[in-house]
Subunit: 345 residues, 4 copies
């Protein structure tokens, strides 16, 4: 029988109690809709403070929404292109929402362990000024990556430097940005603002929130009517106070960091438990809260029956196991024990 | 000093306690993301049952999202057009999201008290088969309307009959559908399914929910890959259980009806209180939870300072006052007393 | 039996011999594609000179293409709106191409004899800065209008003044701009550049050319990457020299003016011939090369059998008769005689 | 001084005299606009006959237009994707027009000598039914390819078989389809219709025409309102007879074949002349009318000064030389002599 808990995705976890209580605390009286309320003002300021006083913060509903609207702001002309990793969420998992909404061309670039490199990017930087060619405009990186790896601050700087030198801007998909910051032990400000990122999708849903992400514009020249982009992109919440309250709690006492550290720690514990098991081959460095492993094909189905998880590539028997803020040591032990048992049966 | 409560919009009210408790009750353990969970299955069935067993139900985030995706499903070719009232939300208040997402042309039709009429519609039904002309495909009506009026079931039938006879389909924007059903004293099924509506935006946020609406496809031929439309339209929630739980509570014990009836009743009470005041001219029939009145221009600002509300048309000093599930008789008394006092000072 | 010649549309006429010869004259040797050739350079300069030295000229294929790309340049954000006459080509006859390509909302405004008025426009100038409302950005006027009328230079100025005062820009659909200029007896520069128009669709196909129109940007701030807009909009000709040659001949010795004057004169002759016939009711002032008349319903079909023409509104038996550069006095006489005969039979 | 003639592109050549004379022959009298004329009817039938009686033929303006509208017809839902070669025109040289118009995601696939292979395609055929992933729908191949190579009929069949088996359809970009058919010595019908292609961009501009291409729909289920797609896509010519006349002449007495054979022959002659020159490295099989060679970097500029041509990849000093219907043996001799002279100086 399938367990109630597992390693399918960090978005399978519930809402952290502190976040839930914050939502409850604003559930009284009237508040003007669409963000013109004191809760939103407060949360906006709190988020902004993490990234520097010039950061402009817009709450939206989903990670895909945050990414698509960010690209719409960064590559505001439909004839521009977005370079991204072949494995990126915007390329693989958003059903073409970026192209649909922005008209931009997405150019998949071969990554190394899920990360773009300046060399990989440069191969696609050509055709500037040539009207037949989509004009390279945005480099989009994901931190932590879709393969559970993390860019160092220096790696980010190398990409933003290249981008700015060539007249491009950099978008960061931060669906798991907390896990990355926790992994590197740096502040958001160091890893994002100071590292030269121009626009950020700041996620919280995978780390203890219910819904609601933020687009954070660090390069003010990209803030050309973003409030209209958000409304036209169907990402403007009427009862905004319930997103604001979540962010408020998420940032209070570094809840984001506590949650992310825990998830990362559980991933490393799981890594340690399974890496020694013959037949399990972890193929990406475990730097955040995800493990990517090639496992015996015949084991996939029975293991899924007890703990649901996703297969990334059927041909290679590549699977993904994610930990979350609520993963327990018992979860890890019972999962890894089951794997060991299955492989030594 | 501005009051904490007022008549600005029904979306300024908080979440109904029963809805909130339902969200809390699902906040435990893991649930597969994106709607593949038992809570979503249950709520989907519950909503569907209200509209007939063939109804297909898709949860989304916002009313604009529900409308735009519905139009995308109903007018699936960008060369088709959507007829709607000049005063409709899709024409006036969605920042062009329908055109952006669908490519369709919206054709504003002159309404009578916010309602489309067959005669008004027919004036725009031409150019069929003429490739230079956007092909008429959808008639979109709002129930209750943006002017606080309600279509009778017969009026809806007249429009759906005309539409189907001409090969068009009918979309209903039901952001305030509960208020309309309460006003008419009919079931959703009578007012929507049996009346021939093809696709519906089913709203709850304005009547006690936190966020989350549903697209309900009653004409199965319009369900061509709607799950992709929803994802590409950035309206797919990862932690869907928290929308499902809201709908579950909203339909339990007819909470939707209790809430809507109350809001309607408060609107009628307010109407009664203010209609006799010289200088207040209510210009639309009060059939749901909104009052549209022309008031003395010099009174607008001072009144807004105490009770915030929106001016619909500055030139005519036309204002809107909305009641909600949490409006109290005291709210109505204190607001109408203040108006009376201001006008007789 | 249907005649080979008629009054259906000015685009039914052939190419003027001088234009054709010019195309032949460039049909030798190689020329770099996509406009990087001396013929294009020459013709561009010649067109530009008509509108002032700052005018930027881009050749495209069709009138719809010129309009849509102009709107794309003028309302470069999809959340902006375009005000246009209810009877305008962009609203009625382009199959929604503007919405599809730009994402903009088109707002049809009630015209007076096909012309927008400042009063009509002002009723739609609201919601500035309100993110729920498409932001008014472009006023599009057609000169000569789709109803055969012509804006005076003063009328154009009144509209451009209003537009600029409110932060909007003005697009002119000049599919029949030559007929308008001939009618007013003014230069393009007076009627367009000096009158404050920001961007123009400059047509020639209806006045003796084969294909090819020009987008002329008079307000340089609207020229943000127009070459990419043209390519992405599928309006960049590879063998551009054959468009250039046409414009070259069209402007040589004021061929455009000779042609347009003749067409206008034929329209007035036709007006004179038919206005006295009982049963024929010309309902729009004949100011360019089109006649709009209400005629007996039973006469439409038999008349069309001999001279094809379009019915504008079946309910009112409103028909349109267009003259062109090649209409002869004999054409007018034989057509009007037939009408007279039919009505007095 | 730069020569008047060269090897830059087959679209630098003039219009073939027979095509020009045909345009002249229709330049008399009136013809109903937008294709409702006898010339268009005749040419449509003539083109259709080449591909089988079920072929539906729509004339458009440009190759990019033909490709984009074809994709719009083949992948009619914006959440679908198009697989194409990394080197394809739709991926590299249309400024993102496909994404802009269709909303589809384009997925670049690694080609072998410019050609897709079933193996390359299969690596991208996954995610069917998964709403997060753009649904694979179209495989687009170019015949002859952008690298001057030609798919054999068997290679085409292998791709269409794979496509149809998986529920996809195949688009062929036939900008140089005449060169391919001439190279293979097969009929269009064998190479396209019988080989299972679903929709075709049929080009003529690069082989003796002035402008005008055709979209040919071979799979009738893809013809869902194509006339509206064409109009909304700004590719409907008003004076269609001038496109029709060109196609008429182009197909008369196999002019297309004579022209293409000649161009191909000139390419092979040039290949023969230069392949023996030390320093010239032809890197793609010369199967149509293009030569792709890596040449000494320092020679590029001076050679371009005399004969203009395009550099495909600056890093590798890869250049492209195209022959056309009007290339002469003298052109080839003088060009190859110059190269030889430069390299042995």
């Amino acid at each position: 029988m399938r367990r109630k808990r597992g390693f399918a995705s960090d978005n399978n976890a519930p809402v952290h109690p502190a976040v839930f209580r914050a939502m409850e605390s604003v559930n009284t009286g009237h508040a003007i809709g669409y963000g013109d309320d004191p809760f939103t003002a407060g949360a906006t300021e709190k988020v902004s403070a993490l990234f520097g006083t010039d950061a402009r913060v817009y709450f939206v509903f989903t990670g895909t929404g945050a990414n698509v609207l960010s690209l719409g702001a960064a590559a505001s002309h439909s004839w521009e292109s977005v370079l991204c990793a072949e494995t990126s969420h915007i390329q693989e998992d958003e059903c073409g929402a970026p192209e649909k909404f922005t008209g931009n061309k997405l150019i998949p670039v071969e990554p190394v362990h899920g990360k773009l490199t300046p060399e990989g990017i440069e191969r696609h930087l050509y055709g500037f000024g040539f009207e037949h060619h989509s004009q390279p405009r945005v480099i989009s990186i994901t931190q932590a990556t879709e393969l559970g790896t993390v860019y160092t601050t220096e790696e980010i700087r190398a990409i933003t430097s290249l981008a700015h030198e060539k007249g491009l801007v950099v978008h960061m998909d931060g669906a798991r940005i907390a896990n990355a910051a926790a992994s590197l032990g740096v502040s958001f400000s160091e890893m994002v603002t100071d590292a030269g990122v121009d626009i950020l999708s700041f996620g919280g849903t995978k780390n203890g929130m219910m819904f609601g992400e933020a687009v954070i514009i660090l390069n003010p020249s990209l803030d050309q009517g973003f409030k209209y982009i958000r409304k036209q992109g169907m990402q403007l919440a009427s009862k905004m106070r319930y997103i604001a309250a979540q962010f408020d709690a998420y940032l209070e006492n570094d809840l984001w960091l506590t949650n992310a550290r825990h998830a990362n720690q559980m991933a490393r514990m799981l890594e340690k438990e399974v890496q020694a098991i013959p037949g399990i081959n972890i193929i990406e460095p475990v730097q955040a809260n995800g493990i990517f492993a090639v496992i015996p094909e015949k084991m996939i189905r029975p293991l899924q029956e007890e703990f649901f998880f996703y297969v990334m590539d059927e041909r290679r028997s590549l699977v993904r196991w994610m930990t979350s803020w609520d993963t327990t040591e018992e979860d890890v032990i019972s999962f890894s024990s089951l794997i060991r048992e299955m492989l030594t049966r």
